[in-house]
Amino acid sequence: MTEQRKSLTLKVPVLTRVEGEGALDLRIVDGNIEELRLRIFEPPRFFEKFLEGRHYSEVPDIVARICGICPVAYQMTAVQALEKLFGVEVSPWVHDMRRVFYCGEWIQSHALHIHLLAAPDFFGCNSAIELARIHPDVVRRGLRLQELGNEIMALFGARSVHPVGLRVGGFHHAPALSQVKILRQKLMDAIPEAEALVRWTSSIPLPADSQPFVSVALKHDSTYAIETGFIAASDGFLVDSQEYDAHFAEYQQPYSTALFSAYHQQPYLVGPLARLNLSQNQLPENIRKLIAETGLVFPNGNVFISMAARAVEILFALQEAARLLGNYAVPDSRHVSVRPRAGIAFGATEAPRGLLWHRYEVDEAGLIKNARIVPPTSQNQARIEEDLRLSLLNFGLNQPDDALRLHCEKVIRNYDPCISCATHFLRVNVERSSS
């Protein structure tokens, strides 16, 4: 393009290095963004409908199938919602081991995103394979961390993809002490690797792109919220998960098979950066010290910092899992008995990509009458569109098409969108024209 061209249509027909299928259409007329659409066209998957008429005990295994990367998030949110409705109190062992299980998913998902999806963008690489040519040790370290996350998931869930270990009331299985000891040692050994990853991600030069937005995440009084907490926003808002509907509204856009979501009529951010923006003070002291040493600052309005936020959370999840497994003993009972109760179940946890909210209406026999699942990527959709608009203006609309396309993809990948979960996703189309 030439500097005289003020209008352009940019189409990224398939966005790569995201989970699932989507596209971006950008139309620039007389140097202004006339249209910007994040189009998720992966077909709807109807999981909420599949759940209708199913027994509550089947829910964890069905919802695990929503995502191959974050099945534990779906399972945990579902079982906790149902347990709350049924008045089930699980044992401290179950509480702790569920948090460990969830830490495994954070480590696996974040390591995958940093090394295979996002980092290549910052080194002029088209793929992790190209990144491995210039930073083999970094990629090897990333794969080791990812594998460690998978090992935690497999320890409690029998397998890392679509695990089967969770049930309403507890776990189906308790790992042997000998297995736990071996894995815990590996986690301890990996902590220096995760610290090095935090230093590496925080040393990568990022575009200066601070934006105002509301961060939404679970918040807990005494811990860094993963599986439990109140829904909080950076404007001071704090509610229980059952109040979600009164403040967050889902809406449809004709170009997307995923629902959009608004908080008090405005876009909002969920995910690792939102969590750190709200809960950085809940991190252990050594991690807060490392954050300060590396020059990272939270709260932060630059979404490009999300990769470093994921690295911080990998370190936290490793430490937390190792801590909780420190006094591991095989329990007398892996689960408590459950008696269903009719009513409405609400649950919210922090999936690797952000807040995940579930609502189930259940009858006396424990059959699901209807279900609603609001995944993090749908919640981030409106924020991604808003971010793209602001970020593109900051970047300069007169940049060459290829540079615009790459910048858009980079922005979108900061959110680690999981289109399959949201469809509910990326191709980019830019159109420039004169009026």
């Binding site: 191959g68 995958l112 295979l116 793929s127 992790a128 394979i129 491995a132 040519r133 083999p136 990629v139 090897r140 794969l143 990812q146 594998e147 998978n150 890392s160 993809v161």
Partner: protein, 150 residues
């Protein structure tokens, strides 16, 4: 020579079960200490399975324009020329192998077998051509590596 690690990649969808069927057939014919692994879209998790062994036999479904049931054999890095058309698990397995190569994680010997498949609809059984090809390939691998497998 050490025993090879044998990995069958597949899914429960029609002919895409090819890699799993080969491993299933071999399970009954080989001593239990032979590492027989069945995977579904392993992605980068395939890489650690290529390490700490000198020989990996990898079996996957492929669509290369041949007839369902045709068996292709790629030794060491011959698969690279095949690009993304090698496997029905497409980018996953190919990318994982490319990444493993860049990271110097490939075993000394990598035998990659591709079975040409037809339809791969969820819930469908594998076609006769695939069942027969899986049987043939299981027999071929068992015979070829008999001196180290048994």
């Amino acid at each position: 020579m050490k025993k090879p690690r044998i990995i069958g990649i597949g899914s429960p969808s029609g002919d895409d079960q090819a890699g799993w069927l080969v491993v299933d057939t071999m399970k009954s014919r080989l001593p239990p200490e032979v590492e027989l692994i069945q995977l579904d879209r392993p992605g980068s998790a395939l890489i650690p399975l290529l390490e700490n062994t000198s020989h990996v036999i990898l079996i996957d479904a492929m669509q290369g324009g041949g007839q369902p049931g045709d068996i292709h054999h790629f030794i060491n890095d011959e698969w690279e020329n095949y690009g993304q058309g090698l496997s029905s698990h497409g980018l996953g397995v190919f990318d994982a192998l490319m990444l493993a190569k860049e990271l110097d994680c490939l075993p000394e010997t990598l035998d990659l077998y591709g079975i040409e498949i037809g339809s791969a609809l969820p819930g469908d059984p594998a076609s006769e051509a695939i069942i027969s090809a899986a049987e043939q390939l299981a027999e071929r691998i068992t015979q070829t590596w008999q001196h180290v497998l048994n």
